[in-house]
């Protein structure tokens, strides 16, 4: 009996932290949207009616003003902040000439009938641009008390732009995002570090994405009956109307946005992610061990995957499904199960590239092209990478819903890091981007490649429209944060990092964290203060670069010359000294003096391991705190130094140059020979062609 008790105690002990950290089942559901919308494919218009209930999340503030995003107005004219910042170009896509889009609130009233239309006023909280109409405020007749709620009835008309910046139409293809009046986030005092309560409702910027509150959505979409429809959430019904249209009903709780797509040409491919068939018990066991959780805690659930493909992309159906399953498995096992029952993957129409590579709750858009159907371009894994990445946003943005305007790195950077690891798990290291005829390219290579020594003029922690030049948004929101997390993992080890990220996700699932929350959690999980790290690499602008200043290893010679004074004076001739050296060498009693100067060429000070390999001995490691600009290591020992390497495990992904991290004392000519052979071959072929023109 005692044994049984002991065993039971141990089991409970092991399960204890798991119970404390179980996944939140639902969000706070601050908003409730009930929307009916109809698409007019001739005029490219949406006419909609929205019943919106908002609950004041504050326990202290009465709120009389509501703020809405009207993001389609970013495409209304060239005077909008978005158009001024982007110049009509975004992510390699050009806005079509006169392909304008806009949104009008036709009427807005409270459930009790108070007309709010006269109170509507456009505001520009970010830049004061009076021509920007992407944020509007409405004033209620009576304030909403703390914890109280208000219901509004809103009628709106949206004119979709020609596909650009994630939304719009191209021929019969529609990707409908940011299409309805959507409330900003009322942040009570204390939320995300606010001192006083207030709305967080930013204008739409060229480099910004979104921020909204969690809630429930019930949306009825009416489109011509020959259109195939896909949308956020679960389809709850379908009604064929006598006028040749069909109305589809979708519902989803615990999300903060709603997008949909329609195209008569879609090929629908469906698959089920099975939590029992697509994940082996070994994989569950491995995840549970890594995370220190029970098998129940890492258990995933089934998901219905719908891929809406362009007809010419049929051969890529399985690639999308496999990638979606890879994402569901890796992200689910690492961070917590995907809680929704559906996932819709949209393959935008040709020429609608601006709609590709985007995430909405339970609904993502892929990036593909006919060219990727067959060899050799099917070996380029951009199809898989985009699908995995956009799926990953269900976790970083979808569930852990940071403010993408103010701290884009918390979703894009976290997700770039996660995507890389998910891709490696599914497709192998060094081949996550290309694996073709022996040529392999991994996204870590690309991440390192863009980590240029010149990248020291911005900081990660900046509002997305504050990066200068604005193109730096990509590096500082995606790649550098990914390298920051990779470097952190290098310091913490895979297990601690996995537990840290799991805990972060659990704690902030269905909430709105900020960077400080992540930093605090790192300190909490590791039991150490990591502010020295984040201050430098997230808040700071400098770069990391360690290198070897010099490395020599010399035989210590027997001293020659005149030594001592008076009677004790003694002369050792050079010949005698050489003979003694030769004897020592023969007897293997030589001593080598090795002097190595390690340098910190970048401004960021990180502790590093330095590895030393002496002839015939195992690799030895010493630590350097990296505070000074140089550190000299001296050794006097019988073995000659073979090589020295700073950060030998390449934990510090942030280091802008790994080639200068190590030094061999006896150079190895093979790498240069291998590259030179290929360079010579290339040149010979070039000249043989040119030379006989």
């Amino acid at each position: 009996m005692r044994r049984v008790f002991c065993l039971l105690f141990l089991v409970l002990l092991a399960a204890a932290p798991a119970v404390a950290q179980s996944l939140p089942e639902r969000s706070d559901r601050v908003v409730d949207y009930r929307i009916g919308v109809a698409l007019d494919p001739v005029k490219r218009l949406l006419t909609g009616r929205e019943t919106l209930t908002w609950r004041n999340p504050s326990t202290t503030d009465a709120v009389q003003e509501l703020q809405f995003h009207l993001y389609l107005n970013a495409f209304k004219n060239t005077k909008s902040t978005f158009m001024k910042e982007s110049g009509g170009q975004l992510r390699g896509d050009q806005m079509a000439t006169d392909g304008w889009g806009w949104i009008d609130i036709t009427s807005i009233a409270t459930a009790s009938g108070a007309d709010l239309k006269p109170t509507l006023a456009f505001i520009q909280p970010d830049d004061g641009n009076p021509d920007d109409q992407t944020v509007v405020k409405a004033t209620l007749p009576d304030p909403v008390p703390p914890g109280g709620s208000v219901t509004l009835d809103i009628v709106f008309v949206s004119k979709l732009p020609r596909v650009f910046a994630r939304t719009g139409y191209k021929d019969d293809f529609y990707l409908v995002g940011q299409w309805f009046p959507k409330l900003g986030v009322y942040e009570p005092a204390g939320m995300r570090g606010r001192e006083t309560g207030g709305w967080n409702c930013h204008q739409f910027h060229a480099t910004s994405e979104f921020y909204a509150d969690f809630g429930t959505y019930a949306v009825e979409i009416t489109v011509p009956s020959d259109y195939v429809l896909g949308a956020t959430g679960e389809r709850k019904g379908r009604r064929v109307n006598p006028n040749g249209t069909t109305t589809y009903a979708y519902e989803q709780a615990d999300i903060h946005d709603f997008a949909w797509t329609a195209d008569p040409d879609y090929v629908v491919v469906q698959a089920t992610f099975s939590a029992t068939k697509d994940v082996t018990s070994a994989e569950y066991g491995q995840a549970a061990r890594l995370l220190g959780r029970t098998l129940d805690e890492v258990k995933l659930s089934d998901v219905e995957i719908t891929v809406l493909l362009q007809p010419d992309h049929r051969p890529q159906a399985q690639r999308h499904i496999d990638a979606a399953k890879a994402g569901l498995k890796w992200y689910g096992l690492r961070f917590g199960r995907y809680p929704y029952r559906t996932l819709t993957v949209v393959d935008p129409a040709p020429g609608a590239d601006g709609a590709g590579g985007m995430e909405y709750p339970t609904f993502i858009t892929a990036g593909s092209a006919w060219l990727f159907n067959s060899w050799p371009f099917d070996k380029i894994r951009s199809v898989e990478m985009v699908t995995v990445h956009e799926f990953g946003h269900q976790f970083w943005y979808g569930m852990v819903a940071n403010n993408e305007f103010e701290e884009a790195w918390l979703d894009e950077g976290f997700n770039t890091w996660s995507t890389s690891k998910a891709m490696v798990a599914a497709y192998g290291a060094d081949a996550t981007m290309v694996e073709f005829l022996g040529f392999r390219l991994g996204d870590q290579d690309v991440g390192r490649a863009v980590n240029d020594p010149a990248g020291r003029y911005n900081r990660i922690l900046a509002r997305s429209w504050d990066y200068t030049p604005s193109g730096d948004y990509g590096f500082y929101s995606y790649y550098k944060p990914s390298l920051v997390l990779g470097t952190l993992e290098g310091y913490l080890g895979e297990q601690t990092m996995a537990r840290l990220m799991r805990t972060y996700h659990e704690r902030w699932r269905f909430k709105h964290p900020r960077s400080e929350d992540f930093f605090a959690l790192v300190n909490e999980v590791t039991g150490q203060d990591w502010s020295w790290y984040f201050d430098q690499v997230v808040r700071g602008t400098d770069i990391v670069d360690y290198d070897i200043g010099s490395a020599v290893s010399r035989r210590v010679r027997t001293p020659s010359g005149v030594f001592g004074e008076g009677a004790a004076r003694k002369t050792v001739s050079s010949e005698d000294a050489e003979q003694q050296d030769a004897a020592a060498a023969k007897a293997k009693r030589e001593t080598f003096e090795s002097i190595i100067v390690v340098r910190r060429s970048g401004g960021v000070r990180l502790p590093v391991d330095v590895a030393f390999k002496f002839e015939g001995t195992p690799v030895e490691r010493l630590q350097w705190d990296g505070r000074d600009t140089t550190k000299t290591f001296r050794f006097a020992r019988p073995e000659k130094l073979e090589w020295v390497d700073v950060d030998p495990d390449r934990k510090i992904l942030l280091d802008v140059n790994w080639v200068n991290n190590g030094r061999r004392l006896d150079p190895d000519a093979r790498p240069a020979a291998s590259w030179t052979a290929r360079w010579l071959f290339l040149l010979q072929n070039l000249f043989a062609t040119l030379g006989l023109l």
Partner: protein
């Protein structure tokens, strides 16, 4: 056409020294930018512990670490050296072609091989260079026009609802571009062959006669070039298969094997280029009408015009071949 291809291949086989000389020349030219590259890479990679990854695969990270490193911008140095050597290669083409036609044309010539090659190269250099400039101008104008049309066509096709249209239009555009470029380059070859045969000095006229020659015999001229090109494609594919299916060049033996295979490929390409000139020379001779027999006017010993020196491939050709040795 087939006969010309066979003759061309036989000619290349009959003149291994010529192939070796050209191979050596382009290897020498390539060494100019390759040696600084070796020096740079050996200096940086040789001492770096990170370089081990280079032996396993092409490491983009290492490559970009090198190019973005502080101090000397090695990539710019290499590009500059390669560009300079490329210009020399381009200029030397006029010399090389003269040498090739002289060697190939002189079946009974007892002069040493090097004498014939360098004599032909020197004799025709300026004329062939002028021809190259004329051909270059025509090529740039024509391909520029093709590119402009191609841009319009691809743009229109890209807007098509049928997605492959854009890609197919691009592929077709590239094919047309190559065919047009080939037209002007093949005309250059035939113009040079004609000049070497006639020892003529009017280069503009010669080039336009080359264009006319190619235009009148498009299927055969392209057929010969494409057949030789097919051999080259086989060579390149064989090399790619070797690179893809052998372990990375991590040992000295593997590096040596790689270099050997690469040099075989380059040698093969030079051989095939000589074969193409040989085939073109043969085709040029056989495609043209037989030369007019010079008949002396009765009672007058002075000929109306001098008979051109004929290529030796014709039964009536005089020994010594093209170019009237001096």
């Amino acid at each position: 056409m087939t006969a010309s291809i066979k003759v061309g291949l036989r000619e290349a086989l009959r003149h291994p020294k010529l192939v070796w000389l050209l191979f050596a020349w382009y290897a020498l030219l390539a060494l100019v930018p390759a040696l600084p590259a070796w020096s740079w890479w050996n200096g940086v990679l040789g001492a770096s512990t990170e370089a081990g990854s280079v032996l396993r695969r092409f490491d983009m990270g290492v490559f970009l670490d090198l190019t973005s490193g502080k101090g000397i911008n090695g990539l710019r140095l290499l590009a500059g050296a390669a560009a300079a050597a490329g210009v020399i290669a381009l200029l030397s083409s006029a010399f090389a072609f003269g040498g090739i036609v002289e060697v190939l044309a002189a079946r009974e010539d007892r002069r040493p091989f090097t004498h014939r090659f360098f004599r032909g190269g020197g004799h025709f250099f300026w004329r062939f260079l002028r021809l190259a400039v004329i051909a270059g101008v025509c090529l740039v104008l024509a391909t520029g026009l093709v590119s402009a049309l191609q841009t319009v066509a691809v743009s229109a096709a890209s807007d098509s609802e049928w997605e492959p249209a854009g890609y197919l239009a691009s592929a077709a555009g590239v094919a047309v571009f190559l065919l047009v470029a080939a037209f002007f380059l093949l005309a250059l070859d035939y113009a040079r062959i004609r000049v070497s045969r006639d020892d003529s000095r009017g280069m503009l006229k010669a080039y336009f006669s080359g264009l006319a020659f190619v235009a009148r015999r498009l299927p055969a001229v392209y057929g010969i070039a494409i057949a030789i090109l097919a051999f080259e494609v086989v060579l390149v594919l064989a090399y790619v298969a070797y690179e893809a299916n052998t372990a990375a060049a991590g040992t000295w033996a593997a590096i040596a094997a790689l270099v050997l295979v690469q040099q075989v490929v380059v040698f093969g390409r030079v051989f095939l280029r000589v074969a193409l000139v040989g085939a073109e020379q043969h085709f040029h001779v056989t495609a043209l009408p037989k030369p007019v027999q010079v008949v002396a006017v009765a009672g007058d010993a002075t000929p109306l015009f001098e008979a051109p020196s004929l290529p030796e491939a014709l039964p009536s050709a005089a020994p010594g071949g093209a170019g009237n040795p001096t």
